[in-house]
């Protein structure tokens, strides 16, 4: 792919980086990243990936923009209230960078649609807000052998890990099944610092860019945790689990299923 003069100017701060250059920028323009969830994590991830010139960005979400989203879901503006999140997100990404093709999926990720969707992409960002979806993405990416970034945020804490399915520690290596429904506080019950979504979602976007470019060291086999109050990052090394029900020595999960777990009250008040 030859860059146009305008692209050389737009991406000049990437292109002067030794690890990226014109070749790397062309790789980004040729890459496809899927973001599942146009919410707190998906917002900064989508904005930065669009700005970076990731050529195709897919975004899945069935929800509409709600007033309580605006405190942290920075891809949505006040004028977007009640608009489909995927449409709101697409408008901002296209406004930042006309080089980017945004594909929208106005649906919830489920066992019967997710594999087909992720198959077209190079890398997946899990920006979902519930455990059934997080387990579904982990399992679907395993069956499709698709690299992805998992993350979660709550109150003042966030954590993330990059997973190369079948090669590095997966979500089920750490957590076998979703927690009991009544045990899980949601952000609506427990609260979440808005800017935390920006920190963690931006780290997920960083991993996507590194993966596409093949540079640096991915956050594999390491859970990175962050606490905004103490400003401490911790790297927790996590080995693959031979007893993992998905990617272990004797897997129990052999096909994709939805987790039947009403993790918390996902309906708005």
């Amino acid at each position: 792919m030859d860059l146009t003069d305008q692209q050389i100017e737009r991406y000049s701060r990437h292109i002067i980086l030794e690890q990226i250059g014109g070749t790397g920028q062309a790789k980004l323009l040729d890459s496809k990243v899927l973001i599942v969830g146009a919410g707190g994590l998906g917002s900064p991830a989508g904005l930065y990936l669009a700005a970076a010139g990731v050529g195709t960005i897919g975004i899945i979400d069935a929800d509409t923009v709600d007033m309580t989203n605006l405190q942290r879901q920075i891809i949505h503006h006040t004028a977007d209230l009640n608009v489909n999140k995927v449409d709101s997100a697409r408008a901002k990404m296209e406004a930042i960078n006309p080089d980017v093709t945004v594909k929208t999926y106005h649906t919830w990720a489920k066992a019967d649609n997710i594999r087909e969707i992720i198959r077209d992409y190079d890398f997946v960002i899990d920006g979902t807000d519930n455990f059934p979806a997080k387990f579904l993405i982990n399992d679907a990416c395993y069956f499709e052998r698709k690299a992805f970034s998992h993350a979660g945020i709550l109150r003042f804490d966030g954590q993330l890990i990059t997973i190369l399915p079948g090669e590095t520690t997966c979500y089920r290596c750490i957590f076998e099944t979703p927690p009991p429904a009544n045990a899980v506080p949601s952000c609506s019950q427990a609260g979440v610092l808005g800017v935390l979504a920006g920190v963690i979602g931006s780290l997920q976007a960083t991993e996507a860019v590194k993966y596409v470019l093949g540079i640096g060291e991915l956050l594999t086999g390491v859970l990175l945790t962050y606490n905004a109050l103490t400003m401490q990052f911790r790297r927790i090394n996590l080995n693959r689990n031979p007893n993992c029900v998905l990617c272990g020595d004797s897997p129990k999960i052999t096909e994709l299923k939805d987790e039947e777990q009403p993790v918390c009250d996902l309906k708005k008040d």
Binding site: G37, A38, G39, G40, D61, D66, G127, I200
Partner: protein, 71 residues
């Protein structure tokens, strides 16, 4: 004996089990925690039977579900 729990040194009685450590560390919802001891995830059903050893490195790993739209 000494353990390193989530990066901090903790003094405990000898032979403490994972279940006992969860209580001692005031983990209110153990069902929300996976436990890694010296690099290996301990199966939940083994929490009671797994005794910790001096110098052991323990990580409590918490479920964290937020990040998207609704919650």
């Amino acid at each position: 004996m000494k353990l390193v729990v989530n990066g901090s040194e903790v003094e405990t009685k000898d032979g403490l089990t994972v279940s006992e450590l969860l209580v001692e560390q005031n983990v209110k919802m153990p069902e929300m925690v996976s436990v890694e001891v010296d690099g290996q995830i301990v199966p939940r059903e083994d929490f009671d039977a797994t005794a910790l050893k001096d110098g052991g490195k323990v990580e409590f790993l918490y479920f964290m579900g937020g990040g998207g739209g609704l919650n």
